[in-house]
């Protein structure tokens, strides 16, 4: 129990005291139990007052303080500092908000505002009486980061983290790096080839000596928490001998004549049983298709030195301070019969077309037929009002248009028709849209309710569509190839991976950030971040932007080797806990775990991951959980304080001030106001500027400017470059 409490009630230069009778309150609370001193002050935050408070605390041997002023968002740390400087624990300080919660919202009812303020201040006094002295929690962190997924997003994040001096484990599930970008040929907006972008990033990764790349690797199990994650990984075999002879392997590849359909090219071509996704794929080590190669035992025998066909998967355990998830997306796969996909030949998806372009030089050939007319159908698997994927996939309009430009560039005589619902080529991508229509691509807009119909007509396809842009006229388009512009969906195994990491997914089934604007790359699990398209549809630029911001966040977090956390977390009374597991079930942050203490099974809080949300406390049947700083004692005491009866004197002064406010004129200005007014008539200035010019102390100017502002004599005009001080100007 704290028994020597100091209370400071702030005028906020009139912001509070014009409506709330601070003088009377300060008199009233003197009578509260434990209150040694109670003062009303013009600006509690002013330097001079801070010094006064420190002196008061020392002189009167105060053990706790309450400041009734503005929102703790503004000054909590200011007064915690004051407490520390005066030699008391910072958590023995309570801030009561009587500006945002009393004077401002209830300016029309000053009396009631005062009553509410007294209640809140009494609650604060009672709370501080029960406050505990606490220490911040220090978490030692590993200076290593695990990045899951080596697409552009993951590779970029890994490079950034390594450059800022962290060890990085980059984990890729495929045999080769690059993700989806590796399979796109030219990409917007830079027109670079996807392969080249990947190669460039790979080179960068190899240059950094603190990035360890694991390909053909998946995470098995994740444990630990912020600062100390433990991740078990499994590396799948490549079946290539450890110290193979490059020339011999090359000879083996050349001689190999076991062919299977190439999944990387959607079966449009074949690959050998020793293969790479594409010739330049990285890392530059081929993979053995173990099933296929066994078809020719003579061959494996001949080159047995190159292979290790009995190689097994390898298990490893990695430690890291934080994790970034960049597992990307899957392409939407049209359902069977959706737009006649797979029912009629010559209907493919955009990713398939991308591969087809890569494979065909000179002329675009599909199923032995030259393609001259291509019809794109947009929003396949996206923007479904009724279906699962309500979201827009963002990249596909631009990707389809960009591909259409590429078609024209590579094959000249191709006519493209675009059947769209909405063209979303935002930002600079609009230029591509303009270019495409100028080159003669035809754009036809259809309604979701009447999607285009595709029919086979002799050798050709016939697409029937109602064009919204031409009085809903029904058009018949002859075409050689229909391209379904498919959107992005979450990775097939995203739920599974998400479960291992305990990160939640949204209704769109992509990984969820905490807040789309304010915490865009943070997940509810401390230390686990997301970036790139695993979070929702993104193009390359956007994917890299988000993964880099995750990298920057992680670097700031673990760089110093330790993290300080506020001790406001759940606390379990291990004597009464019965380990029923209810708290573990509700905790969203995975902070509660079963553990044995003194031979008894109880719940234990992980200090690093508990956020102090408090959701566990009410579910505990034995009432064994307390939230520090919100203990039952504190809450009950606050309620008692707030509900205590209040006797008020009439407030004549307040009414008088309100009247005065409308009547004030230049004549009645105090001298200092006239000086300030003269200084800011021509040009807006900040408080320090005015103070320097007039040779008057900062806090005096602050007080007077605030008051002048309140009486609408001056106006704030923007903030200075450092975001520190407002500019003020005289109102005309």
């Amino acid at each position: 129990m704290k028994e020597r409490i100091g209370v400071y009630i702030c005028h906020c230069g009139g912001n509070i005291s014009d409506y709330v009778d601070v003088k009377q309150i300060s008199e009233l609370v003197k009578e509260e139990k434990g209150v040694i001193i109670s003062k009303d002050v013009m600006f509690a935050c002013a330097d001079s007052n801070q010094v006064d408070m420190i002196n008061d605390i020392k002189e009167n041997k105060l053990d706790s303080i309450v400041v009734a002023s503005c929102s703790p968002k503004l000054h909590l740390h200011t007064f915690r500092n004051v407490a520390e400087r005066a030699g008391i624990n910072q958590y023995n300080y309570v801030q009561v908000n009587i500006r945002e919660q009393c004077s401002w919202p209830h300016s029309d009812k000053p009396k009631e505002a005062t009553v509410k303020a007294i209640g809140l201040i009494r609650a604060g006094i009672n709370r501080v009486a029960f406050s505990e002295s606490l220490e911040d929690i220090e978490i030692k962190t590993q200076k290593a980061v695990i990045v899951i997924g080596a697409g552009v997003a993951g590779m970029k994040a890994a490079i950034e983290l390594s450059r800022t001096g962290n060890d990085v484990y980059l984990i890729e599930k495929d045999y080769f790096v690059g993700g989806r970008v590796a399979s796109s040929n030219k990409v917007f907006m830079s027109d670079q080839n996807g392969k080249d972008i990947v190669a460039q990033l790979y080179k960068e990764i190899k240059k950094q000596n603190n990035i360890t790349l694991f390909t053909a690797t998946e995470i098995e199990k994740v444990s630990g928490s912020l600062g100390n994650f433990n991740v078990d990984i499994k590396i799948t075999a490549r079946y290539i001998a450890q110290n193979y002879d490059t020339a011999l392997l090359q000879a083996a590849i050349e001689e190999c004549n076991i062919f299977v359909p190439d999944e990387f090219n959607y079966g449009f071509s074949e690959r050998k049983a020793i293969y790479k996704n594409y010739p330049e794929a990285l890392p530059d080590v081929p993979v053995v298709d173990i099933k296929a190669i066994k078809k020719d035992l003579g061959f494996t025998e001949k080159y047995s030195k190159c292979f290790n066909l009995t190689q097994e998967s390898q298990l490893l355990s990695l430690q890291a301070g934080a994790i970034i998830v960049t597992t990307g997306f899957d392409n939407y796969q049209p359902k069977e019969g959706e737009y006649e996909y797979k029912n009629i030949a010559n209907i493919i998806t955009l990713p398939e077309l991308k591969r087809l372009i890569e494979l065909n030089n000179g002329k675009l050939i599909f199923k032995n037929k030259a393609i001259n007319k291509v019809t794109f159908i947009y929003c396949v698997g996206s923007c479904q009002t009724e279906g699962e994927n309500k979201y827009c996939s963002r990249f596909c309009c631009t990707a389809a248009i960009h591909t259409s430009l590429q078609l024209k560039e590579k094959y000249k005589d191709i006519k493209a028709m675009h059947l769209y619902r909405e063209i979303r080529t935002y930002g600079k991508q609009e230029i591509l849209y303009e270019k495409s229509s100028k080159q003669g691509d035809i754009y036809i807009k259809f309604d979701e309710a009447t999607p285009p119909l595709i029919e086979q007509k002799e050798n050709n396809l016939l697409v029937k569509v109602k064009d919204i842009l031409t009085n809903n006229i029904e058009l018949e388009l002859e075409t050689d190839l229909v391209v379904l512009v498919t959107g992005m969906i979450p990775r097939a195994n995203s739920l599974e991976t998400g479960k291992k990491l305990k990160i939640p997914t949204g209704t769109d089934r992509f990984y969820n950030e905490i807040h789309p604007k304010l915490k865009p790359v943070e997940t509810v699990i401390k230390g686990v971040y997301i970036g790139g398209a695993c979070q929702g549809p993104k193009n390359i630029t956007e994917s890299v932007q988000s993964s880099l911001s995750a990298a920057a966040k992680v670097n700031a977090l673990i760089k110093s080797g330790s993290i300080m956390l506020e001790p406001i977390i759940a606390r379990i009374n291990h004597d009464s806990c019965l380990w029923c597991g209810k708290c573990e079930e509700v905790c969203e942050y995975d902070a509660l775990k079963q553990s044995e203490i003194n031979g008894k099974m109880v719940a234990v809080v992980n200090k690093a991951s508990c956020t102090g949300c408090g959701i566990c406390a009410p579910v505990c049947p034995s009432d064994s959980i307390e939230l520090i700083q919100y203990t039952n004692n504190e809450i009950e005491a606050m309620i008692n304080g707030f509900t205590k009866k209040i006797e008020l004197k009439e407030q004549e002064e307040v009414e008088a001030v309100l009247e005065e406010k409308t009547a004030i004129g230049m004549k009645e200005f105090p001298d200092i106001w006239k000086k300030i007014a003269a200084s800011i008539t021509e040009e807006a200035k900040t408080i320090p500027q005015i103070s320097k010019e007039l040779g008057v102390k900062n806090d005096v100017i602050t007080y007077n400017i605030m008051t002048m502002n309140k009486y609408s004599i001056v106006d704030a005009e923007g903030i200075d470059d450092m975001d520190e001080y407002y500019f003020y100007k005289l109102k005309n």
Binding site: K373, S437, K438, I444, I473
Partner: protein
């Protein structure tokens, strides 16, 4: 079910259309156009027909003729698709579809064809007079006769059938029942528009536009009067001073106004003169030459100089023949006639 023709845009570009495929259907052009309304929405709708190659729809539409090419839409188009110029090109294309001889299309698409046609007419005039070994008197007499027959012939054998074809696609094909009273009532429209072009005035309310309209009307009247004086009053042969002076005045009106039009096209003073198709040049220049050569011929007659400078009359005659058998039936002159009929047909369609 509408049939699309994918490379139709290329075809229209040969008729002078510019970059209209750039259109992204914002509809600014239709919003800004003073002549479009709820029932007649253009130019955006026609841009769609053109982009999609809906030839049938385009052929039977009267809307292109409702545009008087103020060019306002082109200046406001955010994609520089030049909708106004497209409307002009569509009209040229429509004329070539109305024209049963197919010559309009060839001439519009190939300037070279124009030049060959001009050269052939020169050869024809000179050849005939040489072959028949005609005296100057006879030449002038036949010249006069030619004018009379040319008017009748061109109208009966070319323009009239073409107007019937235009009627067939824009009215008959739309399954409009024939009603004599409607055709009769709408007749007023035909003549008002033919002589006044009054729709121009609803276009833009600018001084420049008004001046243009006024000049244009004076030119139409001057041209018709010149035609009347030379053909029916036999200006070159007349001794009547009133006829002679009247002829001077109207021919002067023709060449002065056309001179101004040529200057405007050279200066590209407004949106409507930004793009000039060869057929536009031929039209203004030949009209100018007609006016000025007629004026000089009559002047030489009055000053008794013609006998020694007979080439002047040859020149006039050649211009006249080129005008009458090339520009009038197949060139820009015919716009004047089709437009008047379009207004007439439009009225018929709208009488309910």
């Amino acid at each position: 079910m509408a049939k699309t023709k994918l490379n139709f845009a290329e075809e229209l570009k040969k008729y002078g259309a510019e970059d209209f495929e750039a259109c992204y259907n914002c509809g600014n052009c239709s919003a800004i156009c003073n002549l479009t309304n709820k029932d007649d929405s253009f130019p955006r709708e026609l841009i769609r027909f053109s982009v999609l190659g809906l030839k049938q729809e385009l052929k039977g539409s009267i809307k292109p003729w409702l545009c008087y090419y103020c060019g306002e839409c082109s200046t406001k188009c955010p994609r520089q698709a030049f909708p106004g110029e497209l409307m002009m090109a569509i009209r040229r294309w429509q004329i070539s579809t109305y024209d049963w001889t197919g010559l309009s299309g060839i001439l519009y698409k190939k300037t070279f064809a124009y030049i060959i046609a001009f050269i052939l007419t020169i050869a024809m005039v000179l050849g005939i007079s040489e072959y028949l070994n005609l005296t100057h008197e006879k030449i002038m007499h036949y010249g006069h006769l030619f004018e009379m027959f040319a008017i009748g012939g061109v109208f009966t054998f070319i323009l009239l059938p073409n107007i019937i074809r235009m009627w067939y696609w824009s009215i008959y094909k739309h399954n409009i029942k024939f009603n004599f009273m409607h055709y009769f009532k709408a007749l007023g429209e035909l003549f008002t528009h033919m002589f006044t072009q009054k729709r121009t005035l609803s276009c833009e309310d600018t001084q420049e536009n008004k001046i243009w309209w006024f000049e244009h009307m004076i030119l139409v009247l001057g041209y018709l009067a010149l035609l009347f004086t030379t053909v029916f009053l036999d200006w070159f042969g007349s001794k009547n001073m009133i006829v002679v002076y009247f002829g001077y005045i109207v021919s002067a009106v023709v060449f002065i106004v056309t001179f101004d039009f040529v200057i405007r096209r050279i200066r590209k003073s407004s949106e409507k003169t930004t793009f000039t198709h060869p057929s536009d040049w031929f039209f203004v220049i030949w009209l100018f030459l007609m006016g000025i050569s007629a004026f000089v011929v009559r002047l030489f007659i009055d000053l008794n100089l013609l006998e020694n400078s007979f080439f002047i009359y040859y020149f006039h005659l050649i211009v006249l023949v080129q005008w009458a058998i090339i520009i009038v039936p197949f060139g820009k002159w015919s716009h004047f006639l089709y437009r008047s009929f379009a207004m007439y047909f439009d009225k018929i369609l709208k009488i309910k």
